[in-house]
Amino acid sequence: MRAKASRLLPVGIAAMLTTLVVVFYYPVGSVLGSAISVGGRLTLDPLVAVLGDPFYTGSAHSLVTAPASLPERFVAWVNAGMPAVDFGLFGFTAYQALLSTVVSVAVGLPGAYLLARFEFPGREFLRSVTILPFVMPSILVAVGFLAMFGRTGVVNDLLATVGLGPVNVVFTLEIVILAHAFYNAPLVTRLVTAAWESVDTRSVETARTLGAPPLRAFRDVTLPQLVPAILTASVLTFIFTFLSFPIVLALGGLQLATVEVWLFARVQNLELVEAATLGAIETALSLGLIYIYLRFEATQISTHGQGQLRSRLPLFDGWQSVSDPRRLGVFLYCLVAAVLFVGPLVSLVVESLTTPNGAFTLDYYAFLLAQQASAAVGTINPLAAIINSLLFGLGALVLALPMGVLVSVVATHEGSGSRFAEALLTAPLAVSGIVLGLGMLRTLVFGTTVFGHRLTVTGPIAIVAAHAIAAYPFVTRNVTPALSGIDDRLVDAARALGADRPTVLVDIELPLIAPALIAGAAFAFAISIGEFDSTVLLAEGVDSATMPVALERYTANRSLGPNLGPATAMGTVLLAVTTGSFILIDRTGRRWER
């Protein structure tokens, strides 16, 4: 499949690039274009309007509106004793992303210590669970946090039984950041654990024999080899939380709006030029961050195939071991982690099965099936949403699988293929779902005139395309390692034994990458099922709504009552589908890293 690639490869690449141009580059380009043009004329007016607006950039707006006054403003600021400066919406978005990153790293690092240095039953399972956030819809996490910390949530129910509360933490920055940590700390844990495990135990031992005490050896030898992974994970977390949308929307609301949430609100108000300008600035920022990320990733020191794994300490080694401060710390961490990670998901399921009075009920699940009867205006039909989700998921899968495999084939090609593939893989990461959705809305759904023909695409097709764009990098990340792991000599050996090229493909290569294909497919399906950002823009009215969109509407819709019942029931269904995908990925795609 490498050097002797079939003649079909160029055709496949051409088809894929055409698809990408139509459903990705053109729509996104039109959004970026409207930030620097008005009525077909190039201008910086939209950019100046946004960047010069104190609402968006706070004190930094004068950089654009009155750059000449900057020095004297700076002097005035210093003379005033350097008070806190407000940097507007962009400043706040970066601020909450920074806080989220710090908390995610703080929560994720002890997890890496636990997984890399201790042996205990279930360690392997715990390690594979750290990929769960990748497939878990963030709106689901938001609903889980509402089920736990909301006004009628599990925490307040528990507090009420001892006569305390209620505590109201919804719509605070704290809960947004905690939810971000739920989502991103496992990523930190995963990346740092991998780095920690690749630290050659012999190099630590060498440092010890050269005279370094244990902590010094950690600082001098282990830590420097972890730093690139920690930085990589931090930058990724910053990117994810900078672009975070459903969690902020559901847990923070407009009063804690980030750029992404505000962008969504602009689209809903049909202020499309302002939205596009915001999207362009946001995309530029995230491209810059991704550039930093790729630089960090490249500095990861590879001790591939050389390192000797350090033997792990048993976590529980007789009752005496419990008094060991390291183990005490780990136990304490496990307690915190259980509350943070397990709490919201358990709360979700518990709330879906209990009435506000605490009695057992299946009413919310009945509601999911019987919504047709109570056709409240603007309410999403839950059964239709479930069916939509599954159909779109299948559609996205059918589209994403060949795209992803194609990129893998290109990536494993010698020469410039891997750089080209990297660009193909990174672009969807740099563009937020909202920007893509907005672009598709403006170009494909509202229609484009080509050679005098008005071409339009319906919402569902646009949704499937957007999902496929979001999903194919995950197919590639699964398939590439499997494909590059195939020894060329296997192919040579099979051909020497008399098999022709297509037979080798079917007999040797496909069976070897089949597990990765299945894992990639499960990923693609899960990504599609959970996609919210572009779907919420592209779902026309209520007809094309998916489970995550329905979930958000039920959460926001106060007319459904004070409890989260319908949302948690829908959330539990979504959780079941997600978990199913995860199990499939875990069983088949064990080689999947990063």
């Binding site: 024999t209 050896a217 080899q225 020191i301 000797q308």
Partner: protein
């Protein structure tokens, strides 16, 4: 450190003394009960098959393994409970284990910050001196990834030697290298060791390497010491059948001492024994004859010191042939420097004095 002839033990002080140490890994016993003394300035090799416990023993000297019982002394000081950083040893591992994030110079100089070397030498000068010693002058600014396997291993050696350790510990340092480089680096290590006079403990599974490089060899099998002696003695007079077989392709014959006391009764034939020995007639006996002690030649009938064997396979080694023969039900190995390979039925002569009693 004084340089003395490591062979004459009586004049030497002991550098490393291991007394009755045992190491358990959970329920597995890696080392049973080992005692060893290693002379100052000696090149001492622990050899044995993989999994025999030789690396565990080395790691116990370094303090990287905690013995369940027993004592380790270095330079007369009991270090059994000391952590590795307090033992003043230098270690080199098979896979180099260079610090990947540090330059070559920083790798070599790493240990200097923890040691107060006599003579107040400038650390940079010391690093340069060691890179010179391992034949890598000017390599200080490179990163480990830019080095070849042999260069990495020489940097690892320089790093271990920089703080002037009391003992140099080498754990299969050449096993990751190709044969040609292995032979070259072996000589280099031996030369550096002799020039510095540093006590060295070397672990290898390769008996040929052990014979080539060592002053003394300890053969370890299944967590126990089988024999400790000079390479020559271990090779020529193995202490047991296990040692005889491990130290290279020995021909081992089992039987009993014949009634005349002068022969071994084996495979239904009488083989002559050395003139003087202490075994009583009738006792069971195992002997070994080295392949190079057997000579392929024509012979008179009736000479007892002759095996009439059939050639099965011949390997050409360049300077000799290794001939696999069959004598009765046994396979017998012969090395011969003949210019043409023997074939068919051959007579294998030996001097009864070359028969080694086990």
């Amino acid at each position: 450190m004084t340089t003395t002839d490591p062979h004459s033990e009586s004049t030497n002080s002991t550098a490393v003394e291991i007394t009755d140490i045992g190491v358990d890994f959970g329920h597995v016993t890696a080392l049973e009960s080992i005692s060893l003394s290693i002379a100052d300035g000696a090149f001492f090799t622990l050899v044995g098959p993989s999994g025999c416990g030789k690396t565990t023993l080395l790691r116990s000297i370094a303090g990287l393994e905690t013995p369940s019982h027993g004592k380790v002394s270095i330079g007369g000081r009991d270090v059994t409970t000391e952590p590795p950083e307090a033992r003043n040893v230098g270690i080199v591992f098979q896979n180099y284990s260079l610090f990947p994030h540090l330059s070559v110079a920083d790798n070599v100089g790493y240990g200097l910050q923890f040691h107060d070397l006599s003579g107040q030498r400038d650390p940079e000068a010391r690093v340069a001196e060691l890179l010179e010693l391992v034949d890598l002058p000017g390599f200080g600014d490179r990163t480990p990834t830019e080095l070849s396997g042999g260069q990495k291993q020489r940097v690892a050696l320089a790093r271990a030697l920089a703080p002037e350790p009391d003992v140099l510990l080498l754990d299969e340092p050449l096993s990751a290298l190709d044969a040609r480089l292995r032979a070259k680096l072996r000589v280099q290590i031996k030369t550096i060791q002799r020039d510095l006079g540093i006590t060295t403990v070397y672990v290898t599974h390769d008996q040929a390497e052990a014979l080539a490089i060592s002053d003394r060899i300890a053969v370890i099998q299944q967590g126990q010491i089988q024999q400790v002696d000079t390479p020559e003695t271990v090779y020529r007079q193995p202490a047991s059948r296990a040692v005889a077989e491990f130290m290279g392709n020995n021909n081992v014959f089992e039987g009993s001492v014949a009634d005349d006391g002068q022969h071994l009764e084996t495979e239904g034939k009488l083989l002559p024994l050395p003139e003087t020995h202490d075994r009583a007639p009738g006792t069971s006996l195992t002997v070994s004859i080295r392949p190079e002690s057997l000579v392929v030649a024509d012979s008179q009938q009736g000479d007892p010191a002759v095996l009439s064997a059939t050639v099965e396979t011949v390997e050409f080694l360049g300077d000799a042939y290794r001939v696999h023969c069959r004598w009765r039900d046994k396979s017998v190995l012969v090395t011969t420097a003949a210019t043409t390979p023997p074939e068919g039925t051959v007579k294998l002569h030996f001097d009864p004095e070359d028969v080694h009693l086990l």
